[in-house]
Subunit: 317 residues, 4 copies
């Protein structure tokens, strides 16, 4: 088990005289694998934020309306993460007809992951491989070989297709490209965001992080698309189809945002592990993170090779 201590400060200046609306996703998700031991939120304005958890993903959104002037949001938490650990060789892809219903949307293209345009590329590069965990690893390695990590090389409209062309990006861009390639092979894949761990100081101060979860066997497994961190030390805030769903802050109104300050450390002690690179597959989420889990179909591994390279969609005109 890993125990992480987080301190996070966000600072804003609200210039709109009517104030501004904020939607934050900066709370640690609470799941069977990720337990929040204690947490504390401090706001510099006398506000009562509304905080709600999404039943399906355990993502917590905090919404508030701030008055003009400065706003500081400070969140601290101590979180225990007890990963589900699996042998990579046992994790097979799941045919679409056997996927739990709430997993199905993660095979569809999204704003930043245009998997529909990458069908041929994905099948050319990865089609013949064994359909399971090792194929996802092959995709991850391919992405890391094609793309170079460099700060300030992409912007809010950069998508997987752009990254494939320009071959440079930050963790979000690696994540989008890897997700798009997985979906192009009919593998459910989603973005996870939270805090980084183990990144080289050369990449800057501790920060938020974006990485990939792929659905294999009956769970979502972690992959660090950019390869810059140590997945065992990632604390999860949110998951979504792509970055469009998991901004850590969405702000409505005329507001100046300062750079966030993030600090995470792994605590030591009896029964506590220090995050390290691992050969095994790690997961913090089963297929349905909620009360709906009981309704989900059992999804056995694929008995037969899945049909590859032919995906047809029929839409209304």
């Amino acid at each position: 088990m890993v125990r992480l201590e987080l301190a996070l400060t966000l600072s804003y200046e609200i210039r709109d005289p009517r104030g501004a609306d904020f939607v934050f996703n900066i709370h640690a998700a609470q799941t069977p694998q990720q337990r929040v031991r204690d947490e504390r939120l401090a706001l510099s304005q006398p506000l009562v934020p509304e905080i709600q958890a999404d039943a399906a993903t355990a993502t917590r959104l905090m919404r508030l309306h701030a008055a003009p002037g400065p706003l500081e949001v400070r969140y601290t938490a101590t979180v225990d993460i007890d990963h589900h650990v699996a042998e990579p060789d046992t994790l097979a892809e799941v045919p679409v007809r056997l996927l739990p219903l709430d997993v199905v949307p993660y095979i569809y293209p999204s704003r930043y992951c245009q998997s529909d345009r990458l069908l041929k590329l994905a099948n050319d590069e990865f089609g013949p491989l064994w359909q399971g965990y090792s194929r996802v690893l092959a995709i991850q390695h391919w992405v890391q070989k094609q793309v170079t990590f460099a700060s300030n090389t992409s912007n809010a409209s950069t998508s997987a297709v752009d990254t494939l062309i320009e071959r440079v990006g930050v963790c979000r861009d690696f994540t989008h490209l890897m997700i798009a390639l997985c979906r192009a092979l009919s593998m459910p894949a989603r973005i996870a965001t939270g805090t980084d761990y183990g990144a080289s100081p050369a990449l800057g101060p501790p920060d938020f992080h974006a990485y990939v979860e792929v659905y294999l066997g009956q769970r979502w497994y972690l992959f660090d698309a950019s390869g810059t961190g140590i997945p065992m030390g990632f604390m999860r805030f949110g998951t979504g189809r792509d970055a469009a769903d998991v901004a850590f802050a969405t702000i409505f109104g005329d507001v100046v945002a300062m750079a966030p300050v993030v600090a995470v450390r792994a605590l030591e002690g009896a029964g506590l592990e220090t995050p390290r690179h691992r050969r095994e597959a790690l997961s913090t989420a089963d297929g349905s993170g909620s009360a709906r889990a009981a309704d989900a179909s059992p999804a056995g591994p694929a008995a037969l090779p899945l049909p590859g390279g032919h995906l047809t969609t029929q839409f209304p005109d």
Copy 2:
């Protein structure tokens, strides 16, 4: 109340010797406003499909694995639609901080609705308008003025941004552009698909249809972005963020698809209405179409003008 009788036939030739997987969304959604009186499914292969309804949206997905050779899917249903009817003037936009949690994702950009790129355009064109139903109507009219309906002018990768440039498209394209503009103003908007009603025979035989639902007051209201049909006669199959979520058929494997055959008629009789164009706002879905509805925040109309034209999103790098 409207009573519709639907007969739908889809025909395929499966050429892959391993067979093919299908995900269909061709069942009428079952909601408090849309009740399925009777329905019947016939498959030309001896298959037991899996049919599941999504709790949040009432969309029913049917999944099956078909053997090589021909497959015919025939679905017939009689459906009663009892619209929630509202006075347009009473329907205000809802500030993001008051939206039910499961409505929030519909303000984010998606594969075909890149609302993040249209913030300035939407605010320039519609920013000063009264924030409610009539602003959505203004968007609908603007889209219909800019874009010309023409068959076979777009393809599976055409998005809202393409339609805005090329100014031609089919109902799906009108729908995507209208959704993108609504979201650019922080209004939750989604695609609905099902069957058309009342379209001019000049546009071809009866067909599937795609249209828009916008969240106002505490419900999702219907808008026919392309203006080709009569919303009161639309039967809903599915809803989603955009077409990526609501293909009526997604096929994995080497399959030839024939053109679908769709027939819908409105039954007449005591207490039954014939679909007609209406001035009032129509809805078939409240904010949460499910058991989760009870958890949803009451979303009152906006007391103050919403901050306009300033949307900031902060992502992990």
Copy 3:
């Protein structure tokens, strides 16, 4: 006649130990309308640059290979501009079949001006207008109404289509959009670059400028797409299909570029005019700026309305 005095300084630090190649376009073009009275070039390294003028456009390119270390390029010139002045009402569009051969390429789409995607938009908005100078003015006004000038809102891959969507940009972006719209109506249009005159100090210090030339009657006429300057005071360096052709500096090698320093002033004296906004059409270039001019077809005004809204291109597959 206008007499302009220019002083221009470009500063670089060449970090590549092998040195770096530069292609500059910072000399005033020499044309019958724009005469260079005197000019001077000073380089901080002992180099003999190669300077050549393109016969067709009078654009002068200076190429050199600089050694590692600092490089300063200083160019000063005094230039007389004697505009060809025409009555707007006399300037008609020229049918493609009558265009001089070297003007034809300027009706084709280019990197940043995807006129091929704007045929319907251009015909919807401007198709019914009288085909001549006033139609170009209508395009210019439309662009200025749609797009807002704002520094640092676009980048090196921003194209006309992006500007149409995002509705914000700098002079280069206004120029690209206006060119694309003209070409979509089969009007030859090109970018001109040089120095600005008369821009509001609020837009920053004096700078390079990009504007539009449209071929009407038998000449290229000036239009300031962004409306930020006074065309009568523009000094032309280069022309091309779009910004891809007219970078003022293209650098091969590892080089840090400092911000350019530009100073222009209009001299006063007998027979000299101060640049001012004018109702008349201004031109500094005929259809063929070179010895080849004699071969060009006389291009009279269109006797008949040109066919509108139907452009077909047939390509090899």
Copy 4:
């Protein structure tokens, strides 16, 4: 020497009552290496077309205004092609500072060849290779490995970037991608169009063709990007930056175009060769195809390795 006999028929129906304007590029270019022995043009309407040759490229454009009704254009020619043949190992790339002025534009990005977005990819893949003919071959092989030839997989707005993503296309798409990659390495590259030779009958009847010319040493050398034909048998019509410049027909007005009919055969006889695949480099054009050639700088092979991977462009804002 190769002697080719061409017969070409284009058929149209002009529906616009005002008639329609056409710009054709269907005449064999006349160059020192490609001599037209005899040629004949027949038009089914009594028209006197205007035919002009571009001095720089030898491309001949034919322009005419056709009356409503049918139009048939029939062009037959016998053409001798005497290729300049060079040893691949002797052909080095030319530093930009030594390129003839009229070759410089071919290193810039264009509508369908967005080389500016491929700098990193091109340098990653081809940066370390010897800078000459063999590097261009490496690019050609890479493109053929990535992209699959398939008819009807692209359209008039498909660009190099799209082909890189979707990995499928026709000869035009292969050509655009190869050109974009060459330019991203500062190698002048252009499209050539004309007639095909030696393509597999499986790819359809004889047709127009698009291929690549790259400037090496002091000449433009032929590369068949799609690898579907035998370059020694290609007859050249036009060259340009990309397909935007070399449509074989551009039509203004409401016109229905029928499929072109193309027939080419290689004549046999004393001193005549049958086109065959060759190891040597072939060229039909020197750096300046015109009277301007005498002004061009002699362009020796690069004495030093060229700076790689750093291209900076400075534009006016």
